[in-house]
Symmetry: C2
Subunit: 196 residues, 2 copies
Amino acid sequence: MKYPSKIKKQNQKSIDFANRGMSLENDLNLTNEYYIEKNIAVIHKKPTPIKLVKITFDCQKNAKINEAYFQSPSTTDYNGIYQGAYLDFEAKETKTRNFPLANINQHQINHLRKIIEHKGIAFLIIRFSIINETYLIKGEDFIDFIDKKTRKSIPYSYFKDNCFLIKESYCPRLDYIIIIKDLYFGGNYEKNDKKN
Amino acid sequence: MKYPSKIKKQNQKSIDFANRGMSLENDLNLTNEYYIEKNIAVIHKKPTPIKLVKITFDCQKNAKINEAYFQSPSTTDYNGIYQGAYLDFEAKETKTRNFPLANINQHQINHLRKIIEHKGIAFLIIRFSIINETYLIKGEDFIDFIDKKTRKSIPYSYFKDNCFLIKESYCPRLDYIIIIKDLYFGGNYEKNDKKN
């Protein structure tokens, strides 16, 4: 397929991945690096799934991908281990005062359900960019919202009243593990759903 | 970048991913699908990490990757959850009568160490293609081999004497979870290292 040189040029300009609205992802990557460094938890972002179409090899047999497409993920983006427990979450930013449920695809919802069923710790990290607040919503609460089918989005007020504001700082950027520790391993927020 | 049409044609021929020596990967993917379907465990292969260099967009804003390269993974390829526990493993095929330690990169070795440290279940699945036998080696045993530094490869005899032969069948193709169940959740192979 040929692209006019003008379009190509424009696109090349737009491929600055470091600033492609990935500030939440960036903050989480830095946080996860901190957790690994401090031996707190081992959590990684999964690579983006890509459908390979055309690959060429140079004379040193190095592969170069010449045609490929992004695929929609069938699981959440992040998983790992904390105190022996399996952790699994998705992270999203929203520019509005609510979180549209359509931002999480059906495969990801099914995946979160399965993780809960298998006694993993599932959650979502949602950043409201306009007010720069980031919340942790428990997978169970999120699924409950989906199952009720009364709304197409979760309002900000729900997060404020029922979810957990993640403290931001220089290092770690977004200390979400402290909430997980409180929720599942004994702490202030401890509820009925405490894990063994 | 332009490629002569001859080279292009040759390369297109070689991109039959289904048969690119990925039979172990294929068997594991089918096995993992079976585990999900039967609600036994939720284990996925992570997508291959790819470094994106050039992307273009068509008029519908669909992204097409025009230049990208494979990156070496910083973690193992597979992870997931079984009975609430975090599982993590790498899978490799070898065509010789031993398993060269160089087949697992340093990042992956460090990752396995960390998983063990954080009380996850870490292991490797090694297939000896020439005799069509697939073994599960515990992460602890593999790390022990690395740390001893006496050999550059693990001989087949070690696998035969100290590891666990994975039964192959039509469905599931490679039932490795049954070994994990025995090793860590009470069963025949139960040893001192039983998890709580």
